[in-house]
């Protein structure tokens, strides 16, 4: 099955390369991602760039082409250009939105391009050859496990959620399922929109409302940074701890230094784009099959392993 797919991909490669056969036998891999409009996407762009220079240095016959888009429509045009102008052999795409990009990606597939979808799945999974994604449910579960290890019967926590989306709901539901039956009370949850300022303000209000808080699940590192300031302002650093998520370098650095206010983090790495590009390259360079789904874990970052997740040069 996978051999067949590889054969198919190779055939497609040959057919496509036919036009420019002879002088240029480079394998071109198009990478289409959202522009760096917020922290996580900034990290995404940075890691894509790092992967590009690393892969091209090691494989002279591979050319990675990164294009960034500001909107789903923009990204659809990018994909068309990659296929028709750049004549790519493989496409790594992190869709802005799943629905509007399904057809553009399907068209690329019909042209014989090897498709790798990252993070946001398409409604029709038969289009993709490879799927690489983080695991939101796992993020909620791992966070819940940590709270269980630190707190118990009669302890109180508050939760700051992201933006009302599927991503947020998956994380939240898994967390709530995780702490069920432990006797830990969730005093309240509010949306903080994955934003520092909102995190600060929501936490200020939680602090004036609840005299006894033992833990804060901020679910995201940007929110966590706002929460930290609010807690410091209230002078209540010693009575609680904060857990974020994603793997922002400032937070990881704090964990390496043994911060007690934010003792751990749960990973949802923008570096997954590098994983996706590597798997796609392996399709052309490895003798092993690569088709399938790659769901990354959401490991707990602790002082012991923080160093391997620390990228001081990344903007995120």
């Amino acid at each position: 099955m996978s051999l067949k797919a590889i054969a198919l991909a190779l055939t497609a490669t040959t057919v496509l390369a036919g036009a420019v056969m002879g002088q240029d036998e480079k394998i071109r891999i198009g990478v289409s991602i959202p522009a760096a409009t917020h922290g996580w996407a900034g990290g995404l762009n940075w890691h894509a760039g790092v992967a590009e220079s690393r892969i091209e240095a090691r494989n002279p016959n591979i050319d990675v082409i990164i294009v960034t888009a500001d909107s789903p429509a923009d990204q659809a045009s990018d994909i068309e250009d990659l296929v028709s102008v750049q004549q790519i052999h493989a496409l790594v795409v992190l869709p802005f939105e799943s629905e509007p990009l399904t057809e553009p990606v399907r068209n690329a597939k019909n042209e014989g391009v090897f498709i790798t979808v990252v993070d946001r799945g398409l409604p029709d999974p038969s289009i993709q050859d490879v799927y690489v994604a983080g695991n939101n449910t796992e993020l909620g579960k791992i966070s819940a496990d940590y709270f269980k290890s630190r707190l118990g019967e009669g302890d109180n926590i508050v939760i700051l959620r992201g933006i009302p989306t599927v991503i947020d709901t998956e994380r939240f539901d898994a967390f709530m399922a995780g702490i069920e039956g432990t006797g830990i009370t969730v005093l309240d949850d509010e949306f903080a929109n994955w934003n520092r300022d909102d995190g600060f303000e929501v936490m200020q209000d939680f602090l004036s409302r609840f005299p006894d808080i033992d833990g804060v699940w901020a679910q995201d590192d940007d929110i966590a940074l706002g929460v930290i300031e609010a807690v410091k302002q209230a002078g209540r650093e010693d009575e609680l701890f904060i857990v974020g998520g994603a793997g922002m370098k400032e937070i990881i650095k704090g964990i390496m230094d043994g911060d007690t206010l934010v003792p751990v983090d749960v990973l949802y790495p923008p570096a997954m784009i590098a994983t996706a590009i590597d798997v796609t390259v392996a399709n052309f360079t490895s003798n092993g099959p690569v088709q399938g789904s790659y769901i990354l874990g959401a490991p707990l970052v602790t002082p012991d392993n923080a160093e391997q997740f620390y990228f001081p040069d990344s903007p995120f």
Binding site: A36, H38, G39, D188, N195, R209, E229, P315, F316
Partner: protein
């Protein structure tokens, strides 16, 4: 004619203004009672302090917006401008820390940089609107996009963070209090008082209202329309710069997510306060109340869990519309005697 513009605005400061003031103030009082009933902590000292400090950003920006809107303009760029100025302040201060060590001067350098950028950005908006003769909506929509992209570019898509030695010096500007009132609230009070005097007790304020109600008449009345309009945008820029100066020490960071939708909140505060969106009449006191109402809504929603999180936006919408309705109701009563307005 100059006298006539003067005369038409003057009666609006008679007893009828009390009716107009009553609307937003009544809404704020009702909101406070509502908040107290939901959770008595709402009127606790800590929460009131938080609330006032928080409203300072939008409030200060909205005072500037009151002038722009009164003179018949609009400024959509304030949120992006705040993010851009915050980013540039951080870059300049980090550079100063790196090249000549850290002292109070580092922070003063950042503050100076903020003031220059704010006034400059305001001047560009004003100049393009008046001399360039481009609609204010388009000019400021353009600069909104430009500043937002610039901050994203300088932050490399991530977040700019202030170096911690400078942070330690700067931090008290947001977190410290004088006479138990936090510094940002003092800044807000001072800006509001200066704004009130400027709007109600000077020729400049009357000119703004005259231009906003009828630009042609104002022009024939020998009012330097372009100069006054440009000045309103400069005041707006200055207000954004002041708001940024007290915003940066709060989190010590700026990113492309900073100040998103502040322009809408500022404009909403101005309109809730009784200033007319089409220009010609401005109320600084109302703007202050408008900013407090907007901040209080979010605060109350955080203090209670009887309303589903998913409905927060709906509650906000209802309260904003109700606040303006209260004001329009009294406006109609006053209008019978005063069709000129």
């Amino acid at each position: 004619m100059s006298v006539s513009a003067h005369e038409t605005t003057r009666p609006s400061r008679g007893f009828r203004i009390d009716l107009k003031t009553a609307g937003p103030l009544l809404a704020l009082i009702l909101l406070c009672v509502f908040g107290y009933l939901l959770n008595p902590l709402f009127l606790g000292e800590g929460n009131v302090t938080n609330l006032l400090t928080r409203s300072a950003f939008i409030g200060i920006i909205a005072v500037g917006a009151t002038f722009v809107i009164t003179a018949g303009g609009i400024d959509l760029s304030v949120g992006s401008m705040a993010a851009f100025i915050a980013g540039m302040m951080i870059i300049v201060m980090n550079w100063a820390v790196g090249s000549m060590g850290v002292s109070v001067w580092t922070v003063l350098l950042g503050v100076g940089c903020s003031l220059i950028l704010g006034i400059g950005a305001g001047f560009i908006n004003g100049f393009l609107t008046t001399k360039g003769k481009i609609e204010a909506f388009i000019v400021t929509l353009g600069t909104m996009g430009i500043y937002r992209s610039l901050i994203t570019y300088f932050a490399d898509g991530g977040t700019l963070s202030l170096a911690s030695p400078a942070r330690d010096i700067y931090r008290p500007i947001y977190y410290d209090s004088i006479l138990r009132i936090p510094i940002p609230v003092w800044v807000f009070i001072i800006v509001a008082i200066i704004g009130w005097v400027l709007m109600n007790r000077t020729a400049f304020g009357r000119y703004c209202m005259a231009i906003g109600s009828n630009e042609h008449v104002a022009r024939y009345s020998a009012i330097k329309v372009d100069r006054i309009r440009t000045l309103t945008y400069i005041i707006q820029g200055l207000c954004v710069s002041l708001a940024t100066i007290i915003y940066v020490p709060r989190l010590g960071s700026a990113s492309s997510a900073t100040g998103v939708l502040w322009e809408l909140e500022a404009i909403a505060a101005v309109i809730i306060g009784g200033t007319m969106l089409k220009g010609g009449f401005g109320r600084i006191g109302g703007t202050v109340i408008g900013a407090l109402i907007l901040t209080a809504i979010g605060n109350i929603l955080n203090l209670t869990d009887i309303i589903s999180n998913y409905l927060n936006g709906a509650v906000q919408g209802v309260i904003i519309v109700a606040a303006v309705y209260l004001q329009r109701g009294s406006f109609r009563a006053g209008r019978k005697n005063k069709p000129a307005e």
